[in-house]
């Protein structure tokens, strides 16, 4: 049964689990098409993912300018990054962003998922769920640029403030150092991330009727059910959202890049933007890579920490 009727076809190896381990030579012969199958992916990932990652990490220790052969400078770039006051300001901004961004990533989607889930009728739930997916058709850059116009002195926010009698609060939101950062963070009201919403909603669906029935007997209804049943049982989904939100916000810099260029002053500068500008504007690629590597370390530490906290709670 191991010899196939067509000469050049490999013999049947379908399930590596069901079969006993074979001698390496035979395994290689039988599995050789596998190497052809993975070739395109492997070549692309090697060249467009692994090589740049390697470049980034190794060039962080050099004075690379993007063109010439770099010379090794040891930890000089890292020293500079850690003592640069602009970097301090940027790190503070990113910290505020990560903390507030976490609230925006969790609370609105959770609220809406619960509201939809507690409606009567499958079809009504499906209709609402679909309605909240619709805004995904708006390109994210469009949302960003549109909010940019809302924040202008002649923009929507000031118009609304004037019309409800809060004209004193009028502002040039993105040009005032005290409001610019918060304007960017709180851009996108009502902050319903479609992906997070669907994740939480499907998490609620997976809990199962018998759990809720049992909870009802113990008096877990309404808010008590959300607090004592839903939230603990949604932990895998919430954990993933926390993780994705932190990782996303640590490295996010598109809105400061496009709307404020990090200003006024350094009010909306974050480390990732600093990294980008250091390379593309100043041509200090080596220093930029050091910032990138530091940022990656932060991401790794935060990821590890959130996993640890998640594990301790269970």
């Amino acid at each position: 049964m191991t010899t196939s009727s067509q000469g050049d076809l490999p013999s049947p190896v379908v399930s590596p689990v069901l079969r006993a381990p074979q001698r390496p030579l035979r395994r290689l012969r039988e599995g050789w098409p596998a190497y052809l199958f993975v070739l395109p992916s492997v070549v692309l990932m090697a060249y467009f993912s692994y090589v740049p990652a390697y470049t980034a990490i190794t060039r962080a220790f050099t004075d690379w300018d993007g063109l010439n052969v770099p010379t090794f400078t040891g930890l000089e770039n890292f020293q500079r990054a850690l003592t640069d006051p602009v970097m301090g300001q940027a790190a503070l901004n990113a910290g505020i962003w990560v903390v507030l961004g976490l609230l925006l990533a969790v609370i609105p989607p959770l609220l809406i998922a619960e509201l939809i889930f507690n409606l009567r009728g499958e079809r009504r739930q499906y209709a609402w769920r679909s309605l909240f997916v619709v805004p995904i058709v708006v390109p994210s850059l469009v949302l960003l640029l549109m909010w940019g116009t809302f924040f202008r002195s002649d923009g929507l926010i000031n118009t609304v403030l004037s019309s409800v009698g809060l004209g004193a609060w009028r502002h040039d939101w993105l040009s005032d150092p005290s409001t610019a950062l918060y304007s960017l963070i709180f851009l996108g009201f009502p902050y319903v991330d479609v992906f997070f919403l669907l994740l939480l909603y499907s998490g609620l669906q997976n809990i199962g009727t018998e759990v809720f029935e049992a909870g009802k007997i113990d008096g877990a209804t309404g808010w008590r059910r959300v607090l004592y049943l839903d939230l603990p049982l949604l932990k895998p989904q919430l954990g993933l959202i926390v993780l994705l939100s932190i990782i996303g916000n640590v490295q996010y810099f598109i809105s400061p890049l496009v709307l404020t260029s990090g200003g006024p002053g350094y009010a909306t500068t974050v480390p990732a933007l600093l990294m980008y500008n250091t390379a593309t504007r100043n041509g200090e690629y080596g220093y930029a890579m050091a910032i990138a590597v530091l940022l990656m370390l932060v991401v790794i530490v935060l990821t590890g920490a959130s996993r640890l906290i998640g594990r301790e709670r269970s």
């Binding site: 379908v14 995904i136 058709v137 390109p139 994210s140």
Partner: protein, 279 residues
């Protein structure tokens, strides 16, 4: 599902959802009504429906956005298509063929999920700039396909592993090669998941801004890059753009995804809700 809800509670929930849904959809309303206003009408009122319509805004916007729209469609479709084809090949090999190095390869692919985009952005830019490519489109298509591999491979890997083994074994015994097996059994059976992976990957590719803005030239630039260009360098600058035409270009730039989601909304929702959390 809970059946305890009073009519009042149900009413309140629906009301809150309605308000939040309308707020979520507000950008759509804002761009639609303002895309039909003259600059004077825009300055007078940002929220009303204009008394006289100015469809000529769309003519102006179309002139500017048609090139980038074409580029975006080309780049997005070919990137997603290639992503799914290559990922399906790899996932098939990893899931259903036994070969030395399988585990190592799996580890290497999985490790890439942990490499953040900002780390590779600048080196990738330098690397691509030094390449001579037959078309500038490839400068963004190739890295985009590469970046999509880990996610697509892992999802398809899980799907292929869950396929009925006896059917595959039987086909193998009948003399079907791996290629025939993939084409005539594995891919047709996993069509729904292939569509889901495609549409889930398509959204971020369509919206991608950073790398396209660095590697694409003026002629090949995609919609997000072009839109930032229209704005004239950020809201902080003093110049006032033609808002009507700007909003019209926003509306036009959303149309391809509107069409797509008319047909594939269900695939997207099911894809996200079924494959979200595995851990």
């Amino acid at each position: 599902m809970s059946r305890r809800s009073l009519t009042a509670g149900e009413l309140v929930r629906n009301a809150i959802l309605l308000v939040l849904a309308l707020l979520s959809l507000f950008p759509v309303y804002f761009s639609l009504v303002n895309s039909l206003k003259s600059p004077v009408q825009y300055a007078e009122n940002l929220l009303n429906l204009p008394a006289t319509l100015h469809p000529e805004n769309y003519v102006l916007a179309w002139e500017q956005i048609k090139g980038p729209l074409f580029n975006s469609v080309i780049v997005t479709l070919s990137s997603v298509l290639a992503t799914v084809i290559f990922a399906a090949l790899s996932a098939y090999a990893l899931a259903l063929i036994d070969f030395p190095g399988r585990r190592l390869l799996f580890g290497l692919i999985f490790a890439l999920l942990l490499v953040p985009d900002f780390l590779t952005l600048i080196p990738l830019y330098v690397q691509i700039k030094s390449l001579t490519l037959p078309s500038n489109y490839l400068a963004i298509i190739l890295p985009t396909v590469a970046a999509g591999q880990p996610f697509a491979i892992l999802v398809l890997y899980a799907a292929f592993r869950a396929m009925p083994r006896d059917m595959l074994e039987a086909a193998r015994l009948d003399g079907a090669g791996h290629w025939a097996l993939l084409r005539s059994i594995v891919l047709p059976l996993s069509l729904p998941i292939l569509v889901s992976v495609s549409i889930i990957r398509l959204v971020p590719v369509w919206n991608d801004f950073l790398l396209p803005s660095l590697v694409l030239d003026e002629v090949h630039r995609t919609v997000p890059v072009a839109l930032v260009g229209f704005q004239g360098g950020g809201a902080a600058t003093g110049s006032t753009p033609n808002y009507g035409a700007l909003m019209a270009s926003y509306v036009l730039s959303a149309l391809p995804l509107v069409v797509l989601f008319l047909f594939l909304m269900r695939s997207y929702v099911q894809g996200v809700t079924s494959g979200g959390v595995k851990a």
